[in-house]
Amino acid sequence: MAATIQALVPRMRDICGAGNVITDPLELRTYECDGLTSHRCVPALVVLPGSAAEVAAVVSACAGAGVPFVARGSGTGLSGGALPHESGVLIVMSRMRAIVEIDPVSRRAVVEPGVTNLAVSKAAAPFGLFYAPDPSSQVVCSVGGNVAENSGGAHCLKNGFTVHHVTGLEIVTPSGELTWLGDGTGICSGYDLLGAFTGSEGTLGIVTKIVVKLMPVPEVVHLLLVAYGSTAEGGRAVSDIIAAGVLPAAIEMMDALAIEAAEEAVHCNYPAGAGAVLLVELDGPAAEVEAELSTVRSLCEAAGATEIQAADDPAERAGIWAGRKSAFAAVGRISPAYIVQDGVVPRTSLGAVLARIAELSAEAGIRVANVFHAGDGNLHPLVLYDDNVPGQAEAAEKVSGAILDACLERGGSITGEHGVGVDKSRYMPRMFGADDLDTMQLVRCAFDPAGLCNPGKIFPTPRLCGEVPGRRRPPHPAVVAGQAEIFLYGHRTVVASRGPPGSCRRLPGAGRRHRRRRGGGSGPLVRRLAVVDRRGFRALAGGGRGRARGGAARRRDRARLGRPAVTLRPGRGPALDGPGSGARGRRPGGAGAGGRDDRAAGRGVRLGLRFRPAAGARRPGRGDRGRGGRYRHGRAAAVPLRCPA
């Protein structure tokens, strides 16, 4: 455990009580991942605050020490949004689960963030009300997590997402202050920070209280289970239903492979031999639903339905929904591993994209099961593979990347409800330009200038915000003299890399090179790792393999590099990425380096100072990678960033 974290432990114990601070390495492992288990990282420290004031105190302590922190709800997220930081504090909100207030007349409830989604509906049920967003994990997922991810659910087609149902938030800002966003009524004055905060994946602060809208329970609910020969026919029915002006509560589709899996797992008795099934749920006032039901029935028949089952009592409906809701888990029975994607396409492109997915699947020999929210074009292709077969994991990753490309080509999105997290940040540049991402990060900078709040999520390249607090330092003389340049490199450079963020080698090859040259000391490369944090830019204590040079070289290094090498002062200071030094807040890696996915930095920006190699010097290559193995680091060529002299 790093010294800074160690120093925080007693303070955290004072704030939360000794029993709510976890330092035991084995217990810490419990929190190493969220619902996306392919990314793992053991946090340095876990705290479980019990009140908003405790959260504020914990965040203040972290901010004061310059330690990153990540909030976690129930850990059901599917994009690694709550993936801990290896040298940071994980703030677990599950002790804060009080339903503070329910006002049935105003149809509002005030809840703490650890309350589960379903608990809100249960508490509201006696008043004939319910909480509309219903992600499939609603039994365990927390409302705080829903706010962070702007969760949807099967019924968001009609009712909207979390952002449409939250009217006020009490948050702890990344600097540790407690404040409200929104006046609790859903009618905002000033900027809609409430709307911007919802879905920010824990990067703008930590929610400590949530005001949610409750809706009257619909008079009647009808569910239709419609079987088709193919997903294309089912897709046509979906378009026809929406075109007819009917807005069902939910329209879900499953293809043959998903049906097979669900049937095996929960015996849901879907029509045998169907190429696709469509679940259409209609709810509302009895008088309206009757009329809609007959319209939907005739449209489904016209699109070539082979069988239609109707269910209106709760038990029957639950039986039919069981097949759909268990689909993800059920697929686990027919494949040892799978990747869930979350791409969205305009509804009119559903057929074309499904055909493309089938094509990709056939080309790669990788099976893809489709379970999705057909009504809003939100696909959940489950890319099945066997991680014991060499090469399959990579092939599956490739297929799932190609599926997202197909979605984007048709004007869609890379994620409809799971969030970007660490998992999809590398796809963000495919959807947004550098300016778009930069603009989003202006919001981040306003909330979290120090970049300590859930760093490394959403954005492939962090932006350095405003003035970095701390003592101003002059640029390194070598940089000023044009003899050195700053470079930035990331980790997880290859798609198939299975290592958790931060598991990369610090500086591939450098150590070995220096060892080889030990005693000689005449190599052209001098490297030392540096970190940027709220105190500015400094060399890592003892870090970097430059040490291996030993003796006099080390002392010389220290004189040159042991102190901060260059001011990262993105205010009106020198830009790090070329011309336009008057511009505000340039981030390293901006212009030329934007769009690379190998800098999804799990632990903030890492910069190195590299002395320019003499002409003809060998660049680091494959041989410099270090040991292979599970956490093998891919090719991490330095991205040179010239510092304007």
Binding site: T179, L193, A287, E417
Partner: protein, 294 residues
Amino acid sequence: MVATGTAGPRRFRYGAPRDLLIGITVVRADGVVAQAGGKVVKNVAGYDLGKLFAGSRGTLGVITEAAFRLHPLPAAVAWVTAEFGPAERAGAVTAVAAAAGSPLVPSAVELDWPGGSQRPLRVGVLLEGTGPGVAERAKQMSELLAAPGGATSVAETAPARWGALPPSVTVVRVSFWVSALGPVLDAVVAAGADTGVRPAVSGPAGAGALYACLDPGTSDEDAVRFVSALRERVAGTALGAGGPRGGVVVLTAPPAVLTATSDRTVPGLALMRAVRDQFDPDHRMFPGRFAGGG
């Protein structure tokens, strides 16, 4: 509309522009063109800048393109109205809450009170859907509104003044939890009595908002005094155990009134300032329109 975040009666069911905006292209104060969101309804990639720009009054950038989610036009519509005498204010309040909380899925629940203790109050409910469905729901809604003593009627055309505010220069919006509608109406009357103005009150009461419109002849001093009196009186109803539950905002007014009444207690004002400083550090975009003044 996006920049001001304006919404009419249908706000009750469909929300404000921020709720239907799915993609946006803006020009920042430094000339950079950026977009966020997209063309699909369901999308959580990146921050939702559309939310931030909706209601920003042009202080963060210029909106050059916006994509919206559309809803199907209803096959049939009906307006159910209920008139309540001046002495039956409590009945109107009950009717609003009953309509807004009913599973009949109204599209709008409006309260219209031309002002003054001698004028009747009108609760108006808009129902949209299929022909037979709307007819049946209108019947049920009539019963619901008649229960607290309203004289109800059903029509296929909008009642007078539907979705329109009375002519006025100063419009003050009060937002509240619906359970506080009664005290809010009392507060408006009392604040009017304190300062000698007689505001007309109208708006989507079922969604938790009302507009108090001051007569065009009201002097600036009276308007300022009315707003501060209203703020003071509403503050009592707008703070619950669970945090803020409403506020008073001056939407339009003569510049002098706007300056004198800018609300410096808006939740999250410090963060709003920080956001503005990031987007427009020199405050060149529409100075004076920022919430909280400046």
